[in-house]
Amino acid sequence: MSAAADVSDTRPVADVPLKGQFGWRFALSLGAAAAGVLLLAYAVAALLIRGTYLWGTNIPFVWGFDLINYVWWIGIANAASLFAVILVLRRHGLRTAVNRFAEAAALAAVAAAALYPILHLGRPWLFYWVLPYPATYQVWPQFRSTLVWDFWGIMSHVVVTSLFWYTGLIPDLATMRDRAAARGKGLVARFYGVFALGWRGSVQHWARHQAAYRLVAALVLPMLVSAQTIVALEFATTLVPDWHQARLPLHVVITGIPSGLGVVLALAALLRSGLGLSRWIDEADMDLLAKLMAAASLGCGYLYAEELLTATLEDPATRDATLARLFGPYGLLHWGGAALIVLLPQLLWLPVLRHSAPAAVAIGLGAAAGVWLDRFALVAGGLLRDHLPRIGPLYAPSIPEWTLLLGTVGLFALLMLLFARLIPVVSMFETRHEESEAEVP
């Protein structure tokens, strides 16, 4: 790593993917992540062969880890891309540092999330029946079903997030192509070249790219709110007293933010130290990110207080159900989640902690774990009280469900590692743009 004064020299960023060797640590991580994906393959195969019988679900707890993890992953994805989009649209300086891997994290999280709605089905191989295709029997999906909305939500999410990520990547892919060609790596250059779509860096290209990039970013923005909301509507539109609350979409969207930001923060800290990119992801960037997260957590704090307040004002059925969730068998999960989401990130107001990589990773992932606990308490705890006495035992995840979760974590990790290996983790063209603007007197 040269101590070149010129930050706009993004060669070190481009060097990372072009390096021949990545070191044993990367190999180890890649191996671990690949093992996780193998675990995922095993869990999926077991699920397909033996069925949802393997899970801890029952009537009434028909959903368990499937929906908990789905909502959690989609929350991470949403918050991470929401964050990236806002940075792009506001042309915020921080975008140069983080939006590339925020987008990548969002994409990887969407991939992990998208597995669950399919796998949670009793007959996963028939998932395409929610598609409105002209079937022989002319049976169409039930368009009033939130699950159909959710299908569209997640499909749009996948498409637009990948578009957003990819559009932002094109100039850098072209840079990678050129640098690889300069180093005589013809095959690598061709690989990047294909995806760079013939980018030559003409002014016209740049103008169109900027328009397209911002357009896609603007597209992402409303959809992110809607996607999370649709997920929440899957619960809120049911007759289950605790779920049937107008505040639920807001709760899911807002509490999703710290988890996404937490994952981005943790990744930023890891990349900074792991890939030696502290120059491009500098302390000011970390400060901004950390403060944003702490502030989002405060917002969540407001939501938790509001939840408690409205619960006491609700009709008896809803009140009992909410209180059962907050103080019932899953109450510890709820309050543990609240502590991790609201209280833990407040530590980030301390500069010492937000500049320390281990602390940032711990707090970031802690918040993500907190949101996971919150989703558990919501999905399982929300069913503790229904209109009639409960007819089944409590839900507790089984080993195959844990295996599936571990597997999706492995998938997420593998995608992130491959991303770090193959693609510039910091947006080079944005950095150059930023720095050159800064140089203008």
Partner: protein, 964 residues
Amino acid sequence: MQHSMTDEHSPPLPERRTVLRAAGASLALAAAAGCDVGPAEFGHPLHARARGVTEEALTYATVLDLDGLGRGVLVRTRAGHAIKIEGNPAHPASLGATDVFLEAAVLSLHDPARSRRSRRAGRALRETAGLPAFLEERRAALAAAGGAGLRLLTGPVSSPTQRRLIGAVLAAFPEARWHVHAPLADAGAAEGARRAFGEAVVPVHDLSRAACTLSLGADLLGPGPAQLRQARDWSAARAPGRAGQAPLPRLIVAESVPSLTGAKADQRLALPPAGIEALARAVAAELGIAAAGGAPHPEAPGIAAALRAAGPSGLVAAGRGQPASVHALAQAMNATLGAMGTTVRLIDDPAGAAEAGDLAALAGEMAQGAVTDLLVLDANPVLDAPAGLDMPALLARVPHTLHAGLYPDETALACAWHLPLRHPLECWGDSLAFEGTAALRQPATVPLVETALPAEEILAHLAGRPAPAEALVRETWREAWGEEGFEERWLAALEGGVVPDSAAPARELRLRPDFDPGPAAPETAGFTALFLPDPHLWDGRFAPNAWLQELPRPLEKLAWGNAALIAPQDAMALLVGDGAEAEITLHGRSLTVPVVIAPGQAPGVVALPLGGGRRAAGGVEPGLGFDAYRLRPAAAPWAAPGLALRPTGRVRPLVSTAWHHPVESDPPPARRVAQGEVIPPLPPPRSLYPDWSYPGHAWGMAIDLDACIGCNACSLACQAENNTPVVGPEETARGRAMHWLRVDRYHRGPPEAPETDFQPVPCMHCEKAPCEVVCPVNATVHDHEGLNLMVYPRCIGTRTCSNNCPYKVRRFNWADYARATGAVPVRNPEVPLRARGVIEKCTYCQHRIVAARTAAGLEGRPIREGEVETACQRACPTRAISFGDVNDPASTVSRARREGRHYALLGHLDTRPRTTYLARVVPAGTRADAMPAGTRADAMPAGTRADGVPASTQAESGAPEEPA
């Protein structure tokens, strides 16, 4: 063939190959058993003209026994196989209804764990090798000795043919003896009757005429050979009261252990056994029976006044296990009230066998070595003999033992030889109902176990007069009816399923003045152990039946196992909750048992259900529950004082479906109204969508909670009709049992004296069905007659519909329950099996609607009212369920919906259910739904988790604990 048949009613003929194989097997069998059974006997189920219009689906009348007493049934067959049992409306012990045992019989018939081979020393034999020779040799040896050393052990027998053949055996072997062993026989009742009337007569209760009933521990509405009749009569007597046209008949129940009767009582006293006798004496004294004596009881004057007011319409019934004094007092009170001839009819015990010895006498002889040959016919003394009788050792002392039974059970394994017995549905035979009405049994199916023999043929062979069972039964009835017109009477009795006018004549007996044997022994320290039949396993004979095992018990909601029931006060004192393990010791014998708190149980009483913990119970894994027979003393088989109970501190996993959290909703789901009270209708529903119109039929169901006795028959009938799979104990514990119709049980008020209500919950078929709009693939939809139906092939298994169903009636196939190996082997071909990953639920027996529609269409007429009967409706002993067209204002269901006590469950959700309820009626002035402040419904004593989850299951699932 002796029976006449017209061509249009020809039987479903088995395939030629089956016939050949069956004939071959039958010949081999006949040779083996030495019976002269021709090949024509085998494989021909049709003997009466069939009921039904199609060639394929035929219904036959026959009779099935419980405790030796018959209940008439109609067996629906498809292609020669029995698939469903329904009650025979003509039979007085059924009246068209079924109980859980009758419904489950079809599964026992098809049970792959049934005994299929003869056994020698417990090992199955490939051929019946050696058995015929052995039998011949023993017959010859015994004949030479006049039968000395030959003993015959049976269960209770009411069958005229079997009794005739036993008589023939005893005549052929004058030195032989017959012993009857019935673990549930009530010696106290027989002794009480003997004290009261000088003879062991049995009272037949007519609850339809009872204005006031006092039950002294009698579970009149609970399971038993007379349940269906008594429950129907009880419900019929309440009908005018429900309509507000007459006062409600009163049911006063004094009992130690909560029962279905207690749950329906207007006044319930939880008393220990000694307290019941004290109450009986006090009430008798109030009624002016001088001999009664005893201390006054605070409740006695009121009860006596009510009985006196009822006069001849009063009824006092003493229950199984009460001491002879209580039975005698009950009869004395009935005689004093003038109830003999109105609510009580005395008849000779249809299964009484004065000439037979009991098991104790047999055991004595076996111990002395006086028994050389023992034939155990359809009895299981190794399981159900009293503790202290070491039956395996005693059987080992008998040189030649032969057991004939349906299963390779404990006794089969302990005997030298075992012969598989035919299931009653495969047999010829006859039996008497609890009130003496005779019915003929005919094979309603192709025999499924080729080697099995009917008991009649074994007896006939032993008597030296081998004949096919049909001939044996005919012979019995030819003797009774004479030659003239025999064939007509025979066919009529077969077709009708009942021998007309054969009820036992009432005995006119005078009460003896010295009827009172004096007070029973006073209470001693410690708990009193009460032994009682299990509501689903009965005396243990139904333990191999997976349907009965998996069906949650009506009150404690336990499945796949049993538990000792203790009073809430005792649980509080011992600091134990549901699922706690305890060591119980009685007369030096110990068992470790799980404990379950029974709200409403008398303190100081530990109820031990019999029939669990069987070591050899067919396909059911051994060790489900505990075997209370191991503690049951011969001297006090029903109530044994001196039980010590010590909690071990451990928990035992129980399979329970009682996950109830406190129900505080107002009004409660299972509602009560005071007589004449009208439930105000809900405000008119609002919806963004226009109403759908149902111009043709619009099916609806109304369930009368006043008539519902919580007997579970509907639930099991639904399971049998709809191929609802059995999921096993592990899956049931996980909350995945598949019953389409569950019976919710609510306790309200203090746990010491709860008010108990039952509420059967099938699918509500909501007009605004919340399940439909959330299904992404339109797999659950409404049909043109308002049925909310599942399209199984379209279901992808999101389970969202279950989430959105406020009634939680949708069940999910987590695994391939229906088709997995070991799945239930009996299937109704009219209902599809559901695949793994698919939701299923009540269809209102849509296939029956379709059948009726088709039949009506063929005849060019509309479907008639009552033509469609759902399986649950048909099974219900009290006719609590009415089903029909709500568009037809004259239909029963429409009339029910116009009643003042009609309401929709969770009506405020505006799902507009088609299944609705009629509230339970309590006498005006008694509190109905209004709950006093501070009482929580389903309140649990300390030691129980607030949501009632047994701590063990909780620990197992690893879910976090709820703060206390």
